[in-house]
Amino acid sequence: MITLALFVVLAATAIVAGALVFRVDSMARATFLLLLSFLAVAGLVLMTGLQYLGVVIVLMMVIEMVVMAVFMIMYMMNPAGLMTMTMFHNTRGAVAIAATVFVALAAGALVVDWPVRGGVPAPDLTMALGESLMSGQMLTMMTLGVTLFATIVGSVVLATGRGRYDRLGDDLGAAESDDRDRGGVGR
């Protein structure tokens, strides 16, 4: 009974907060409503007994949304989101895509037979998850990790206006960079 009530509350929060993201006028509110939606989803994951995944979703989503907020200030410095603004772009296309995806997913859920559980859950789900990721799925995870990291480094290199040859000289011989705002190490 409590489980059901909790499930309903979390599921409703996830959907309503997600929908409200498109109803509010402030970018900050939209960002943190999205976070609320994710937190409710993390709660649902926790309810399935996947403690590690649930808590990690909380951890990652909080950091992610706040980092998103930093970009928001960069582009729009008005504190408290004074100007009301619309959160929609390309309305018609978005409606078409959203409707198609919803119909496809809903149809999938209704049409396809749901799998029946075979076997029992591992005694320690965190341990089982770790073993799966670090044995069977090792290659996938390693490829994913390195690709993501390479993407981050690559985009920073492409975006930076002053590379290390500008900062440290053509032979990289300078003891310290000549940046205006000096970092803590000086490289």
């Binding site: 003891a175 000549d178 205006r180």
Partner: protein, 360 residues
């Protein structure tokens, strides 16, 4: 009812004090700061943090407008006192505690239904307009004209941001904000109108509020120590900053022997020079050279020379245009240090020869 009175009295025993003064009130400010420190009262960081607003000297019309704006943002229980003479400092502070603990008076004067937050150092809308127009930042127009090109006036007096290129050439938002005159560790009466992007200053134009004809000057040693204390406090070194202020007070109002002052000054200088972390924090671009740290050391040195009666040259005060030039392109925390070190003086005072030196 009695309980409320008792609570109010207990809460008023250690009020946070916000000191506001115009140009040329430094000596009186030092006296108030000394008395506040002696009582162990903290100095408020912002109007929201203040219980007692101490207005020192006789503020001109521009500063008066700022004080009114600040006052609307001070939460009740609150008290405003005006001090024009060194003799009344102690009794005025006592009166303020009385007023804070007076339930009836606070009830009568408290702003209804919560307080509007005003922006620290930002003028209320009307004054903001007038001043920015006077300073020639904006072409004068009818009242209600947009604050700045493309900008939009919004509720709360903060101008809508507009776009500008950042250091990497990206078009990002800019804000137009006046810094001062009510800011912690800020030179009296100074206002710097800045264009801010993120926390990088893109344009700066500094001015003094209210043209004060004759500016009372502090002795050079006290002035140098005052500025050094600001730099130390902004660097987060509250202890040494308080010690520097204590030395300043001894120089201004007596109460210590020259030998002991010299000893303490040497001790302070040694601590500043020896701290690797301070050097790390203050060091700016260019192979470890630090303008701020060197200037800090110079100030302590010149204070020492003045106390010792060696007839050192007056510390070099920066004029406003060169201060503006140095602020452009720096990050906010660095800008605060630069202003604290520069310790600018209005032009006429710069030209006057310094006749006072050493302890007075």
């Amino acid at each position: 009812m009695d309980l409320r009175r008792a609570l109010l009295r207990a809460a008023a025993a250690r009020p946070h004090v916000l000191i506001i003064g115009g140009l040329g009130t430094d000596r009186l400010r030092a006296r108030v700061e000394q008395e506040v420190a002696r009582r162990g009262w903290p100095v408020a960081s912002a109007p929201a943090d203040a219980d007692v607003v101490v207005v020192i000297g006789r503020p001109g019309p521009e500063l008066r407008a700022v004080i009114d704006g600040v006052w609307t943002g001070v939460p009740a229980p609150r008290s405003q006192i005006w001090i024009t003479d060194e003799d009344e400092v102690s009794s005025a502070l006592d009166d303020s505690v009385q007023e804070l603990a007076d339930l009836a008076a606070q009830r009568a004067h408290a702003p209804r239904s919560g307080l509007p937050a005003i922006h620290t150092g930002v003028f209320p809308p009307e004054q903001g307009h007038d001043i920015s127009e006077q300073s020639g930042h904006d072409e004068p127009g009818e009242h209600g004209h947009h604050h700045h090109d493309g900008g939009m006036e919004l509720p709360g007096g903060l101008a809508m941001a507009d776009l500008g290129e950042d250091r990497d050439g990206l078009a990002l938002d800019q804000l137009h904000v006046p810094l001062g005159p009510v800011l912690p560790e800020w030179p009296s009466g100074l206002v710097v109108d800045i264009v801010l992007q993120g926390d990088v200053i893109q344009e700066a134009r500094s001015r003094f509020l209210d043209d004060v004809a004759a500016v009372e000057r502090q002795p050079d040693a006290a002035r140098a120590l005052d500025s050094a204390a600001r730099v130390l406090a902004l660097s987060g070194w509250e202890g040494p900053a308080a010690r520097a202020r204590g030395l300043r007070d001894v120089l201004l109002f007596g109460g210590g022997e020259t030998v002991r002052i010299l000893e303490e000054l040497d001790d302070l200088r040694r601590r500043v020079r020896r701290s690797r972390l301070l050097r790390w924090v203050l060091r700016s671009a260019g192979a470890g050279r630090s303008e701020v740290l060197e200037a800090l050391d110079d100030k302590l040195l010149s204070a020492r020379a003045a106390v010792a009666g060696a007839g050192a040259e007056a510390p070099v005060a920066t004029d406003l245009p060169s201060l503006d030039a140095r602020l452009v392109g720096v990050e906010f925390a660095a800008a605060r240090l630069i202003v604290a070190v520069a310790d600018p003086l209005p032009q006429p005072a710069l030209a006057r020869p310094t006749d006072q030196g050493g302890a007075s």
